[in-house]
C-alpha cells in the first residue's frame, strides 16, 4: 500500500540517485542533478497531458454515445478504446494546409503554443503526497496566471487565419476569457480566505484537518465549475468555436495535426480546471484506502465527466448573454460570497 | 385581421369584377374562380382582391405558348379566412414580355416574380429588385422558354461570380 502510494515519488528519487551517481562518475558538480530532474518532471507532465487528452477524448465520445442512445466508437481495440490513437495517427498523416492569406508563422506558433499553458499549470498541481513538481507558496496565483494564457494561442490562431469566422471567434475568446477571469478569481479568493494560504498543498492539508471546502463554499464551487467551462471554451460556452454560427470559429482554417494540437490542448485545459477544482474544493488527493494519486485521478474524472455531460445536454448560449450572465449574475454573486466569507471568517477568528 | 370586414366570397369577387372591369376581366368557362385578366387591369384587380380579404398570394408562374406567341402568367390568390383560391391569368406577348409588378400589393410577389423573370425573362415593371434568383448572375438566356437552346456543357473558365 505504502509502496503503491509512493511509487512515483520513489521513481523520482531513483532518478535523482541515478543522476547523482552519473555526475559523480563524470566528475561534475552534484547540483546539476536538480537541473536534470526538471527534465524528468517535464517528461512526467507531458505523459500526464498525453494520457488525459487521449483518454478523455475517447471517454467523451463514449459518454456522448451513451447520452445519445448510440454505441459510440466501438471498432478499434477492445470496445473501441483505441479510437483516439487511430485518430491521432490519421491527423498526423494528413496534409498540412495553411491558407494563402494566413500569417504562416503565427498560424504555426499558435498550434504549438496551445499545449504550453496547461503544461505550465500542471507543474504546480499536487497529484499526490509529495507529487508536486513545483511546490510554490503562491501555487494558486501561479495556476490562475498561466491558465489565463490559454486564450492567447487561440487568439493568435484566429488572428493568423485571415478568416472572418476565425476573427469573430478570436474576439469572443478574449471577451469571454477576460470576463470569466473575474468571478473565477473571486471563487478562489473565497477558498483562500477560509484556508488562509495560497499554497495548494497547504489548502489540501487544511481540508484534511477540517472539512472539504465544497461544504463551506458550495456557491463558489458551482460558480467555479461554470467559469471553468467558460475558460476552457467548452459548451455551453463554446462560442469561439460556435459550430452552428461560426462554422468552426477560430479553428476554421486549421486541419490535420495543427487542429489535433488544439483539440488535445482543450482536454488538457479541462483537466487542469478539474484538477484545480479537486484540489481547492474536494480535498485534493486525500482519501481512504486507495493511493493518493488514484484519488486525485478519480475526483478529476468525476468533474471531467460532469463537464462532458453538460456539453452534450445544453444548447449554446448567445454571445451577449454570456457576458451579461458573467457581469450581472456571477460577479455580484461572488462579491457577495466574498463579503459573507470575510465577515464569517473575521467573527470566528 | 379583417374581422370587421365582411369576407368576400367567390360570388362577390365575380360580381365586383364584372361591375368594375366589365370587358377587361372575364370568367373562364366551366370554372367559378378563374379569370382571364387584361394586363393593364392586373394591378387594380390585385388591389381589389387584397382589400376583399384575399391576402395570400400563393403562386405566380408562367406558361410559354410558343405557337400562339404568348406568355400566360398565372397568379393564384388565396384567402386566409375561408380557404378560397382565385386564379388570375394574364396573357402577354412574347415579343414584349412586360407586366406590372404586384410587389406593392403582396410582398410575397417579390421572390415569385424574380423566379418568373429568371426563368422566362418577363419584366415586371415596378419591381424593386429584379435579379436572377435560381440561376447565377452571369447566366444567359431564359431556361424555361420553349425556344431556349440548351447550352453546350463546356468549362467556362475560372471566374468569380460576385
Amino acid at each position: 500500500m505504502e509502496f503503491v502510494n509512493n511509487i512515483f515519488v520513489n521513481i523520482a528519487d531513483l532518478c535523482r540517485a541515478l543522476f547523482v551517481w552519473l555526475l559523480n562518475l563524470l566528475g561534475l558538480p552534484v547540483g546539476l542533478a536538480e537541473v536534470a530532474m526538471v527534465a524528468v518532471y517535464w517528461l512526467g507532465i507531458v505523459i500526464v497531458c498525453v494520457f488525459c487528452a487521449l483518454f478523455y477524448v475517447i471517454w467523451e465520445r463514449k459518454l456522448a454515445g451513451y447520452i445519445q442512445r448510440r454505441p459510440g466508437p466501438n471498432r478499434l481495440g477492445p470496445n473501441g478504446w483505441f479510437h483516439t490513437v487511430g485518430d491521432a495517427i490519421k491527423l498526423v498523416m494528413k496534409e498540412d494546409i495553411v491558407p494563402d492569406g494566413a500569417d504562416k508563422n503565427v498560424h504555426l506558433l499558435a498550434a504549438l503554443l496551445a499545449f504550453v499553458p496547461p503544461m505550465l499549470a500542471l507543474a504546480a498541481m499536487p497529484f499526490g503526497e509529495g507529487m508536486t513538481a513545483l511546490d510554490l507558496e503562491l501555487g494558486v496565483v501561479y495556476i490562475m496566471a498561466v491558465t489565463t494564457l490559454a486564450s492567447l494561442p487561440v487568439l493568435c490562431a484566429g488572428y493568423a487565419s485571415n478568416n472572418k469566422f476565425a476573427m469573430m471567434g478570436a474576439m469572443r475568446v478574449v471577451n469571454q476569457a477576460i470576463s470569466y477571469e473575474v468571478p473565477q478569481a473571486l471563487c478562489i479568493l473565497s477558498v483562500i480566505m477560509v484556508a488562509g494560504t495560497f499554497n495548494l498543498n497547504q489548502i489540501i492539508d487544511w481540508q484534511t484537518g477540517n472539512i472539504w471546502l465544497v461544504c463551506l463554499q458550495p456557491v463558489a464551487f458551482v460558480v467555479y465549475l461554470i467559469t471553468a467551462l467558460a475558460e476552457c471554451n467548452r459548451a455551453p460556452f463554446d462560442l469561439p468555436e460556435g459550430e452552428s454560427e461560426l462554422t468552426a470559429g477560430v479553428f476554421t482554417e486549421y486541419s490535420g495535426m495543427r487542429y489535433a494540437l488544439f483539440y488535445l490542448a482543450e482536454y488538457c485545459n479541462m483537466f487542469v480546471a478539474a484538477g484545480l477544482a479537486t484540489t481547492l474544493f474536494l480535498g485534493g488527493f486525500t482519501g481512504p484506502f486507495l493511493p493518493g494519486w488514484v484519488w486525485f485521478l478519480l475526483k478529476t474524472f468525476v468533474i471531467m465527466s460532469f463537464f462532458i455531460w453538460v456539453r452534450w445536454s445544453f444548447p449554446r448560449i448567445r454571445a451577449d448573454h454570456v457576458l451579461t450572465f458573467c457581469w450581472k449574475v456571477l460577479v455580484p454573486l461572488m462579491l457577495a460570497n466574498v463579503l459573507v466569507t470575510g465577515v464569517v471568517v473575521y467573527l470566528l477568528a | 385581421m379583417l374581422n370587421n370586414v365582411e369576407i368576400a366570397g367567390k360570388q362577390q369577387v365575380a360580381a365586383e369584377f364584372a361591375a368594375r372591369f366589365a370587358d377587361k376581366i372575364e370568367l373562364i368557362e366551366n370554372t367559378d374562380s378563374e379569370y382571364m385578366v387584361q394586363a393593364e387591369v392586373l394591378l387594380p384587380a390585385a388591389e381589389y382582391l387584397l382589400s376583399a380579404g384575399y391576402e395570400f398570394l400563393a403562386d405566380i408562374t408562367a406558361v410559354d405558348y410558343l405557337a400562339e406567341g404568348k406568355f400566360r402568367l398565372i397568379y393564384q390568390v388565396g384567402n386566409y379566412q375561408n380557404g378560397d383560391l382565385i386564379t388570375l391569368k394574364v396573357e402577354i406577348s412574347r415579343e414584349e414580355p412586360q407586366v406590372n409588378s404586384l410587389c406593392a400589393v403582396w410582398k410575397a410577389a417579390n421572390w415569385l416574380e424574380r423566379e418568373v423573370y429568371d426563368m422566362f425573362g418577363i419584366e415586371f415593371a415596378g419591381h424593386p429588385d429584379l435579379r436572377r434568383i435560381l440561376m447565377w448572375d452571369g447566366f444567359e438566356g431564359w431556361p424555361l422558354r420553349k425556344d431556349f437552346v440548351h447550352q453546350p456543357t463546356k468549362y467556362q473558365g475560372r471566374r468569380r461570380l460576385d
Partner: protein, 372 residues
C-alpha cells in the same frame, strides 16, 4: 452610454453555401456591425436541378419520382399535389381506400419531417444530443413507409389514380411500433427542451414575425400558424378525404422562434391523433380498390390545373399545363420553403449573429424544395 459613437467597420459575412447550419446550401450574404446583423440577403439556387424543365421532357408518369426530390424529407407529400393537379385534368375518380392510404402516408411522413425539423432546430442551437431522440421516432415512421412501399425517403408512393401498394401486415406492426413509441418520446422531449433556460433565452422574442408580415410574405404551414393566423388547408380547403376527420389546428400568437417550436410540438400531437383516426378508417375499407381507372398511356387533356396541399413545410402547390401530349407543357411547383425564406431579408437585420442561425432553424426549411 447608448449614444457612444464607436467607429466600427462593417463587414460582409457569407453564411453558406457551405455552412453547418444553413440546412444545405442556402447562402446568406449578411453585413455585420460587430455581432449585430445590419442587412441580410438570402442567395439560393445552389441546388437548382432544373426540376421544372426536366419534367417538361418526361412523360407524366416519369415525372412523378422527380417530385420526391423537392422536399426530400417528406417525399410522399410532394407526390400528392402533382398527382392531384394531373387528376384534375384527367377527371379520374380516386377510390376511397387509395385516398385514405395517401392521407395516411402523408401524415406519417409529415410526422417524420417534423421530427427532423424539431431535432435540427435544437441542434442548431448547440444541443447536439437533442437531435438523436426525434431521429429515432423518424426511423419508426420511415420503417412504416419502407414496409408499405419498399422505399424509405423518396418513396414515389402515389400514382395517378391511386397509390402504388396496398397496406399489409408488416405495415401494421411497424405502425404499431410508431404509435407505441411516440407519446412517451413527446413527453420526454418536452421535459428535455421546454424549460431549458438557455433555450428560452435564445428563442423568446427572437425573429418575431407579426401576423401582417406573415400574410404579406405568404408564409404558410407551421410558420404562419405560429404567427397567429389559423390557416390549414386540410381544414380550410380540404383535399383527399380530410373533410371526414375532425382535428384541432393549433395556433400561437407570439410569432417568435419559440412560438414556432411550440407550434411544431403541438402539431405533432395532432398528427399523431390524425394517423390513428385515418388508420382506423383505413381498416374499415379492407379489400377496397387502390387504383382508379387510368389508361396505360397517359394523354392528359389540354388545359391548366392547380392543386395545393398542406405539406410539412407549408402549402405546396402544383400547376400543370397540358397541350394534350404525353408529356406536360409546363409543370410548376409552389414550394413552401421558397416563399417562407423570402422574409429573411426583412427579419434578420437587428439580430445577433447567433440569432440568424436560430431564425433559419426555426423556419424548418429544405433546400431541395427552395431550389427545385
Amino acid at each position: 452610454m447608448q449614444n457612444l459613437n464607436v467607429n466600427s467597420e462593417r463587414y460582409t459575412l457569407n453564411m453558406g453555401p457551405q455552412h453547418p447550419s444553413t440546412h444545405g446550401v442556402l447562402r446568406i450574404v449578411a453585413d455585420f456591425d460587430g455581432e449585430t446583423c445590419v442587412s441580410a440577403d438570402p442567395q439560393i439556387g445552389y441546388l437548382h436541378r432544373g426540376m421544372e424543365k426536366l419534367l417538361e421532357s418526361r412523360t407524366y408518369v416519369q415525372g412523378m419520382p422527380y417530385t420526391d426530390r423537392l422536399d426530400y424529407l417528406a417525399g410522399v407529400n410532394n407526390n400528392l399535389p402533382y398527382a392531384l393537379a394531373v387528376e384534375k385534368l384527367l377527371g379520374v375518380e380516386i377510390p376511397e381506400r387509395a385516398s385514405l392510404l395517401r392521407m395516411l402516408s402523408c401524415e406519417i411522413m409529415r410526422l417524420a419531417s417534423y421530427m427532423v425539423g424539431i431535432g435540427i432546430y435544437i441542434m442548431d442551437l448547440g444541443a447536439v444530443s437533442a437531435v438523436f431522440y426525434p431521429y429515432q421516432q423518424r426511423e419508426y415512421a420511415l420503417e412504416v413507409m419502407s414496409a408499405l412501399c419498399g422505399a424509405r425517403m423518396t418513396q414515389g408512393y402515389i400514382r395517378f389514380g391511386g397509390v402504388q401498394a396496398d397496406w399489409n401486415e408488416q405495415c401494421d406492426a411497424a405502425l404499431q411500433k410508431l404509435l407505441d413509441e411516440f407519446p412517451p418520446f413527446l413527453e420526454m422531449y418536452h421535459k428535455l427542451v421546454d424549460e431549458n433556460e438557455i433555450f428560452l433565452h435564445r428563442t423568446k422574442g427572437v425573429g418575431v414575425v407579426t401576423a401582417e408580415q406573415a400574410k404579406a410574405y405568404g408564409l404558410t404551414g407551421a410558420n404562419l400558424r405560429a404567427s397567429g393566423v389559423s390557416y390549414d388547408l386540410r381544414r380550410d380547403a380540404p383535399y383527399c378525404l380530410y373533410d371526414r376527420f375532425k382535428f384541432k389546428v393549433p395556433v400561437q400568437q407570439a410569432g417568435d422562434c419559440h412560438a414556432r417550436y411550440v407550434q411544431r410540438m403541438e402539431e405533432c400531437e395532432v398528427i399523431y391523433q390524425l394517423i390513428k383516426d385515418i388508420y382506423a378508417a383505413l381498416k374499415e375499407t379492407e379489400g377496397g380498390e387502390i387504383m382508379g381507372k387510368v389508361p396505360k398511356v397517359l394523354r392528359v387533356p389540354a388545359g391548366e390545373a392547380y392543386a395545393q396541399t398542406e405539406n410539412p413545410k407549408g402549402i405546396m402547390g402544383c400547376m400543370v399545363a397540358s397541350d394534350g401530349k404525353t408529356n406536360p407543357l409546363r409543370v410548376h411547383f409552389r414550394r413552401p420553403s421558397f416563399d417562407n425564406i423570402a422574409i429573411y431579408s426583412e427579419l434578420m437585420p437587428g439580430h445577433k449573429m447567433a440569432d440568424l442561425v436560430t431564425i433559419i432553424a426555426s423556419f424548418d426549411i429544405v433546400l431541395g424544395e427552395i431550389d427545385a
